[in-house]
Symmetry: C2
Subunit: 690 residues, 2 copies
């Protein structure tokens, strides 16, 4: 398909521009500059895109990622003009409470592929989408049955290019030779502080060449549709490399203040808007104007071909299912967002007599077992494969076929030492659809490097899984730089994020089961480096409630609540306390995931942590956050130290005797005092899962 | 000084290698591979470095940054051989509890310039040191009085290059033309996962050229001291660009498994160590061997010239003080780590009648006032200057003089959209010495992007200040992607990190006073976008206790504890409650910094939050972490939303009526119930400031 341009295209571009400006003006808030500069690029892109506003989930649609999410007025204009569920009334509600047009694009909105705004994320997510597409195509395409050949298009600005997360993801994209990824760099020479010459005069295209990308330039991006189109057509032909096209534009094109930081992030003055409309041949006194021929044009040139392509795809897939029934059924299932029946029976079951083993090893075993039955699992590690134990024996690396190191059907990604990039890429893989469940390994402490991406996973509800091993001071010798202290508190405070810290094999199973079945929530699974015994009272089913009584006693004097590698120490401590001359009866509660526990009924929660009994939390990490469940806390509110793992545990007195000593103190202190369950509150309880 | 090499250099290199290997073997833990490959580079570097083991704080010493901190056995060997306070006994305690030789280098150790290990940080810190040196030189050097001309040398590996934080910092270093920065890239083709070809085949030098760096290669880095030296000498001559020298080495050089991932992170087998020692002409049965001539050589060729250079510098500085008494006194003061007398009198004082103003505006006023009297203040923003209000009117940009945009004496850094880079650079500026107090602006939510650097600031005790504006849902329209929820909880859980959230002008003053006077702790100052009234009861001196009673009443029925922009709402709520038919008497407590409050006496803390009275926390953020101070929490445990700031506050019911409603509920609920102060605990209280 060769695209030709005429006057209607110019009119469409002007409409995109002015519709965006009107949104910002109505809200008196937002970013008019980038939409004015980028409308031509956006329009050319639309002319190329396969999309279907009546079937948002069509797996072979082209994806459009607005990495500079602050330009979202442009995106909402595009979606409106192409018949997505964005009315003019919606555009008028730009940036207002409860509107469909928030200040940055949000994943759940129709036609919005990703939540963007935090800079650098969108382009990195797009690398993930491109990886997913290559994997999907390599898995399901058959000669004569090209089920997947979609492109991922990105708009990004200077901010996205400066952020390190994009450097990580784009370096990997170059390595992976993702020819299905095409990015347009809005080279407008302006950031919030002013000229890019203040801080950013690197040679961007040379850098991307160094990454292995194809690079191109369009000099007159404000108007030269033909050149943008020529670059795009050429980029689409190059299947061996991702492409970045530098489009030089004028920020706020047409405004009296065009080319200055003044048009970046504030509404244009009313007079400026008037002259702008005049300049583009629009009535200066009218707002939110769309000429009918523009609607008609997008319908004819974008929507109808897209809908038709989707219909042809449906037909192709019908035939595919006949010809390749097994793959067809599998794909059908994935497109319905369902897991294989009884997949969880593959999860290994543990008995208390099984040997002590690190939960990262359990995780390896779990992955080994479920990997073959879950083609949607696509894993990797940020260069800690032998430590995270994330690679299954039969896995093939996801690599460009020409590398000789794997191929695109491979489901193990060598992310390199790029945690933040990995996080953003996993989000993109999840956003691609087809029920992809990306997982990625690193040390728990270095999940913090990816905080920006983890937060967006939670905000967007991407079902990604972080395999976060070496989850405490128990990692030992690497010392305080590698020992998480605040990390669990941080992650647990992120809304809609599961943070599992399983105590043994069965609890690790529960964590994986929940993480893989989760709809709309990401999960962190924190795993030990050191061996942990299989607990007498542990149970996958109970664990899936987030917290449960792992060892009970009648009329307990004290409850110890703990997680992960400390639970077995607490059970030992309970034994010590039971055998004292004046025995202290202790219930031990294991709390593998706070968020899941918070979602249980109050009745259940109070049954686990009832009134009248002092509750002591025990965890080798910051105590902050435990106040929700316990009256007293034994934790570590300082940084760790370098030494053998068991020595570090001893140093901090996290041994059965040390726990017992504190438990005794707590039991004594509260003897005769009135105590309420921390679960019972005056204010209605709200889980973070909202 | 032209460096010549002979047999003794080879012997020294072998000693460095084997001393490092012996440390790892003794500990049976650590990383022998990089030290074996990098010893020649390290040795050549030592031959060039101006250092003085008897005066660690000599401001004109050259800095050595081991960015690949896992190679620290090499660093400890270097420090031992050059007479720093690292004995052979210390080396034998490698990676053991309480030793001077932890698993990664730590800032407080003699001769260790920075805590490294989390990859990408060291090189980025080094950019900060280089900035500080340029600023220091431009400020104090005078013709004939070159007080500062030191270099910053870095060793870094593939991991550091893959991490985004280094991309951010190195792009900026290129822009800033930091000719005093020289990095050696250990190109050993191996990461933990195996060959770099798995994930990292970009053209690193081309990328650095794109950043504006000078690039060089040394092909035979395992032995070719002359080539390493030639590159280094050439790099030192180029004053206009930072330099990266790619030194191709063999990881684990000499080991039977050299060139494989197997030698990266585990001790070599005893037999391998034996053959290695034989290969290098050492007794295979002896450990921790240092030939006397190697000690003598380092003493003669490194230590003595360094000590002499320091003496000459002392003489120069004596003369300088006579010739430039004012600058001399200032510098003297800074080198003593003291602030100017009465500097804090420049802090503006506010009266309740002063107009309502955003605390970010107060922050601007504070900076405006103190900037001229504190030459150690060196600030900037991650491209949010007009939002963070971090640039004072008279500030000059820190820019290469050739740019025409500023010069190196400038104290305002245009960081670009690089939060993580900014954080790491600030850490480096602080580590340079001379009492530098770097501050950097961004939105509070995006401090998370820099979590890796913030954590290291706290662990190392760098006195950096984050000016974190737009600190809540109050930022409004930008929506949930920009509204922090978990951020305060996260940051407060980091040990040794002050997190100030001032409620008005006087509290903002207190925050700045504390942050600037802090010794060994970094600070975050969270500031509002929206206007806040000057409170009747606010007070700088009380605020410096971290929490205080801002509005009291006799025999309160309830205490509301709050921070920042919610304090005035709580005071309004208290008025509503007082005027009810059955009045509820409310004490309002403002808690601008938890960590500072935690450091007060128990007596004081209990006086603020006494027994017997229900305490309700009110903060527009995650409730996690408040359990330490309050029984009930009114917060936001979900993501925010896009809308006008006041509308978003209303949406979440954070208005005086909404607070009063909840306060009433809480007061009712606890009526007649026994309540203890959350300050009083069975287990001894530990502040995070340890």
């Amino acid at each position: 398909m060769s695209v030709q341009f005429s006057d209607i295209d110019k009119l469409a571009v002007s409409t995109l521009r002015l519709l965006s400006v009107d949104q910002v003006s109505k809200a008196n808030s937002g970013h008019p500059g980038a939409p004015l500069g980028l409308a031509p690029t956006a329009h050319v892109l639309l002319r190329h895109m396969h999309l279907n506003p009546t079937n948002l989930d069509w797996i072979n649609r082209d994806r459009f990622v607005l990495s500079n999410g602050h330009a979202c007025a442009l995106l909402y204009s595009m979606l409106h003009l192409c018949g997505y569920d964005f009315s003019i009334e919606d555009l008028k509600q730009f940036r207002q409470i409860d509107s469909k047009t928030p200040g940055h694009p949000e994943f759940e909105l129709p036609g919005v592929e990703l939540t963007t705004g935090p800079l650098g994320q969108g382009i990195s997510n797009a690398v993930g989408i491109a990886i997913a597409q290559e994997n999907f195509a390599a898995t399901y395409n058959k000669p004569g049955y090209t089920l997947s050949d979609s492109f991922t298009y990105v708009l990004l600005g200077d901010g996205c290019l400066q952020e390190g997360v994009s450097s990580e993801a784009c370096s990997l994209a170059g390595h992976l030779k993702l020819g299905n990824l095409i990015a347009f760099y809005d080279d407008n020479h302006i950031t919030i502080d002013g000229s890019t010459s203040f801080s950013f005069d690197e040679d961007v295209l040379k850098r991307y060449e160094a990454y292995g990308w194809e690079v191109m330039t369009v000099e007159k991006g404000d108007a030269d549709l033909e050149s943008i189109n020529r670059a795009l057509e050429s980029a689409k032909k190059n299947k061996d490399k991702p492409t970045i096209i530098k489009v030089t534009t004028t920020i706020g094109f047409g405004s009296l203040n065009q080319g200055t930081a003044g048009v970046h992030g504030a509404a244009l003055k009313p007079d400026d808007v008037k002259q702008l409309k005049k300049k583009f041949g629009f009535n200066p006194d009218k707002f939110f104007t769309v000429p009918q021929e523009v609607y008609d044009f997008y319908k004819k040139s974008v929507v109808e071909p897209g809908v038709k392509a989707n219909q042809q795809w449906d037909e192709l897939f019908r035939n595919y299912r006949e010809k390749f029934p097994q793959l067809g059924m599998e794909l059908d299932r994935r497109l319905r967002g369902e897991l294989p029946k009884n997949w969880e029976q593959k999860l290994p079951v543990f008995k208390p007599t099984d040997s002590a083993v690190a939960t990262r090893k359990i995780s390896e075993l779990v992955l080994e077992n479920i990997y073959p039955v879950l083609p949607e699992l696509i894993g990797g590690s940020a260069d800690l494969t032998p430590s995270n134990l994330t690679r299954t024996k039969t896995a093939i690396d996801f690599q460009p076929p020409s590398s000789g190191l794997g191929d695109y059907s491979g489901r193990y990604i060598r992310y390199g030492i790029r945690e933040h990039g990995m996080g953003a890429i996993m989000n993109g893989i999840s956003a691609f659809g087809a029920n992809y469940k990306p997982y990625g390994g690193t040390f728990l402490n270095f999940v913090s490097y990816a905080a920006g991406a983890v937060r967006l996973a939670a905000l967007s509800g991407h079902t990604v899984i972080w395999v976060a091993t070496h989850d405490s001071i128990g990692l030992g010798e690497d010392g305080p730089t590698h020992q998480p202290i605040e990390t669990l508190t941080h992650l647990r405070a992120i809304p809609n994020l599961h943070v599992w810290r399983p105590a043994d094999g069965n609890e690790t199973n529960a964590a994986y089961k929940a993480a893989i079945e989760a709809k709309g929530s990401p999960s962190i699974i924190a795993l030990s480096r050191q061996n942990l015994p299989q607990l007498e009272g542990s149970c996958k089913d109970k664990s899936t409630k987030g917290a449960y009584v792992v060892q009970d006693v009648e009329n307990p004097d004290l409850i110890i609540a703990s997680t992960g590698s400390e639970v077995h120490l607490c059970i030992e401590a309970a034994k010590i306390l039971a055998s004292k001359p004046s025995p202290i009866k202790v219930r031990v509660v294991s709390m593998p995931d706070f968020m899941t526990f918070d979602c249980q009924s109050e009745e259940y929660r109070v049954s686990v942590l009832p009134d009248g009994i002092p509750i002591l939390s025990v965890e080798v990490a910051a105590t902050s956050g435990w106040g929700k469940y316990s009256h007293e806390h034994f934790g570590i509110d300082r940084f760790g130290c370098s030494g053998k793992g068991p020595d570090v545990y001893k140093f901090f007195d996290f041994v059965p005797e040390g726990i017992a000593k504190r438990a005794e103190k707590v039991a004594d202190y509260y003897k005769g005092k009135t105590l309420y369950s921390p679960i019972k509150k005056a204010l209605p309880f709200k889980s973070t899962n909202v």
